[in-house]
């Protein structure tokens, strides 16, 4: 991953394939949500439906309305977030959102689309973070 592009479709697809193959992800329960992820300047849409992650693709800013909410971090925040999760003691998204407001929504009702599924979404990001660690080892 380069400094210019801290997150990529490739990274998200890797996380997608891991959680879709993981029975414990299914056991967390159904998850129906469209999550925007904006790290630095690039934005992606991650779609979950039923018990799996259905789709990952890059978005234009004009298409952001498709997302129920947007996880938004600077490249530095993102790197710290992943490093903490890889180390096993980092803050979760829900935790970070309490202090740093990293989950953006048009109103507090939409925030519930994140909060209802936040442990599954965290499992998705953890899958990607841990795959990085495995690759690096």
């Amino acid at each position: 991953m380069t400094t210019a592009e801290p997150l990529s479709v490739k990274w998200l697809k890797k996380a997608q394939s891991i959680v879709n193959a993981d029975s414990s992800f299914r056991k967390r329960g159904s998850i129906d949500v469209k999550m925007g992820v904006r790290i630095g300047k690039a934005t992606y849409l991650v779609t979950f439906a039923g018990f799996s992650c259905h789709d990952v693709h890059k978005l234009n800013d004009n298409d952001l309305r498709d997302a129920d909410f947007i996880v938004e971090m600077s490249a530095d925040q993102w790197d710290r977030f992943l490093a903490g999760r890889r180390a096993g003691n980092g803050r979760t998204l829900a935790d970070l959102d309490t202090t740093d407001g990293v989950v953006k929504t048009v109103n507090p009702r939409k925030k519930l689309e994140f909060l209802r599924f936040h442990t599954s979404l965290q499992a998705f990001f953890d899958a990607g973070a841990n795959a990085d660690a495995t690759q690096a080892a």
Binding site: S30, F51, T92, A94, R109, R116, H118
Partner: protein, 363 residues
Amino acid sequence: MATKASRGMAVPAAMSEGGSGASVEGVPVPTYEWMGLTAEWGTRVKPGEHGLRLSDLNVGIYGEVPEVWEDQTRRPRGALPRPGVPPLPYNLRSKHQMWADSAANLYEEAIQRRWIPATEVPWHTLEPLPEDIERAVCQVCTELSQYANTEIEIITYWQDQMSYGYYEVKQFLATATFDCARLIEVLRKRALANGGGLGVESRGLVNRMILESRGGWTESAAYQYLMRGTFTMRVLSGLLNAAHNDAERMIFAKAIEDHARHLTYGYDHLKYAVSHQAGQADIMQTLLSLGEVMMAAELEETTLRPALAIIFGGGIQGGRTVGMETFLHLVGDFVRDYLALCDWLGVPRTEMLHPMLKKYLEY
């Protein structure tokens, strides 16, 4: 099986007395007249990628959700009525009094995302905390338990009166009461598992306001979800942020998911009521102006205030400075959420917000 026509539909024919099997001496022969009685037959709903959900069953007459359900019996929606069944006191019989489009799927979500505090919370990660912090955690557990049993009581009070025409809502609310029971369970376990115990009962101003709201479920939902529930979500998020170990992290992470489902139903119902019932927005304005007084009073005197400050500040010392500052920011965030939700509902409160709540917007 042979079929016969009933109201234009092909239905199983009533079998002849005795059927195909031989009768047994001394055993009454069953009757089969009821077998031909149905409002709609031949329905074959297929499961999708979510499995077979309640909302998938809304096909044909089974999916017709009327604006008013006059029937005061327990007849399931879509079943044939039986003449002569005495009415029961189902006083909520209009859709706008309880409906939310999300209710059926939230029911499924609650069933699928359930968790088991006894075995899934990593209780072994609890470690002794300084006494002031342990006392504060236990006090918070005590008060949040009272929040949860208030929610159970107000739901069950009204659930009893909701007609079966809107069974999805009754189903969802059954899961909400179960979620609350689980929250009481897990908070009690946390309080009694780390050398502490339960704290002191809260005065319960808002609990009483919720429990005494008798003008209809929508009124109770405004107090329970828009006011109390929105505040509770901020408290749970603060507790997740300040969790001392993995057990507390899991407790509050899962409690947030459960509570978010309740709020989703509550907010969606209020939105439905405001947009489908003339005058409801004005009624809400009156209710909220009364509710804000109680909410503000409780925020001043609740023991949750010093207890949370101690938790956020890492002890009594820190509770006097950064802890209280964090608590005040939490309340400020709650008030901002509340105002944004009121705007979304079409019941703007910014101009009329009670001064005792307005002061928290400084934080």
